[in-house]
Symmetry: C2
Subunit: 248 residues, 2 copies
């Protein structure tokens, strides 16, 4: 359930940090005004479940701040993370009544929610929204397919290296770190969450991180703080094409 928010009780769309990357990126002032009327903010604490798979959904939303994960579970408890939701990512599916996945807040999380019915109605007469949503969905599909290669064919070590590389690269673009220098970041995920993401057990995750540390590919401070002395070296460990193919 919703927890009253402090930092985001209401924000003007024009001042929104995800204004130009979210589903509303292409909207003009007029369209934003109409979105303002159907939007509200919700905040969740780390670990809270935002949506249970199978639940009725009466809203769709954009992640404003924090990280959430999309997971699928089998009855016997086996769990697979099927998406990582970062700021500006979209949650929910227009035209669908019930949620298909669990959404869990990995960190403290703020979402900009839109009431579903009015949002769907607005999509029909606002091509700017469905065009942007199509673009974002195609990106997600590409990410999902890259993840399928990882899950189906990579070794445990390659999986860990790939995850670290993705997080490192995302942080590097945010912080505009020098390309040559060391890259430093904090893991936003527990070992268990990493395991669920990578299709491994948490013990294997721990062992492989220790191995990468022992081999000098990464340095660890505490459990979450990671330094990558040589990004190329880390990239070599991912098993991916080294040449070209610089997405993002």
């Amino acid at each position: 359930m919703a927890v009253q928010d402090h930092t985001f009780s209401h924000v003007d769309c024009e001042a929104c940090p995800i204004r130009h990357r979210a589903v509303c990126a292409r909207c003009d002032a007029d369209e934003l005004e109409r979105l303002e009327e159907i939007k509200y903010y919700r905040t969740f604490e780390a670990g809270q479940t935002v949506i249970w798979s199978g639940d009725r959904m009466d809203f769709v939303a954009s992640v404003v701040e924090g990280i959430a994960s999309l997971t699928q579970a089998m009855e016997d408890g086996r769990t697979q993370m099927v998406g990582l939701l970062l700021p500006s990512d979209f949650v929910g599916r227009p035209g669908r009544e019930t949620a298909a996945y669990n959404v869990v807040a990995t960190t403290r999380l703020t979402m900009c929610c839109f009431r579903k019915k009015p949002f769907e109605a607005m999509m029909l007469r606002t091509p700017h929204i469905s065009q942007r949503l199509l673009e974002m969905t195609l990106d997600e599909l590409d990410a999902a397919r890259e993840w399928m290669l990882l899950l189906g064919r990579k070794t445990a070590r390659e999986k860990i290296a790939s995850l670290l590389a993705i997080i490192a690269r995302r942080d590097a673009t945010l912080k505009l770190a020098s390309a040559t220098g060391q890259i430093v970041f904090d893991l936003p995920l527990t070992r268990e969450a990493m395991a669920d993401y990578l299709g491994l057990t948490l013990e294997t995750v721990s062992r492989q991180i220790s191995a990468l540390k022992r081999d000098g590919v990464i340095q660890l401070e505490g459990k979450r703080h990671i330094t990558v002395p040589d990004m190329d070296r880390l990239m070599d460990e991912t098993g991916d094409d080294t040449d070209g193919g610089v997405y993002i």
Copy 2:
């Protein structure tokens, strides 16, 4: 390269077998007319590569007849299928210059191609197309995520059972087989293609199929012809939720 087609040199959209499920499903007569102007058919033999990853793409397309597979490969040869393209499925991404995956014809394949530039231009002024494409892309994303659970968490036996169940169900809906009776179908994939789809080796695929046969879950005639005497029994072997959740 294109092979001259015999059965589909030109088909009127109104008579097209995928008219109501493809990207053009929502188009009106007027819009179809404009699509006719930029469309052409191409046919490929089983085994032919339609598109190489990294190649420049000057068209997008709908699968009209046959099956194709979308695969990603690592330099050392490890291959993962990331999508199975059935009639009405869409190939290519508007707004992208080069192909991100290999597309290979699994059976004899006919595609309805649209020149990319005109198609993109038409999308901008034809919400019916982008709306339908959004819907189809969201469906594909769901399928990709279901596949991530399979790749990350299912056992080899569950993977095989899941694949057989998907093909059996698709054929059952096509043939409108009696729900209670036996389901009979031909595997459209080689053992190697199945392995690439499931993230297994072809030996493991072969062994698990033999095991399911030995246990009476399926019957085999030749290498491709499969009979499922009890669909519920097969579903039990997939590891999926048995109750509710009847998609498609």
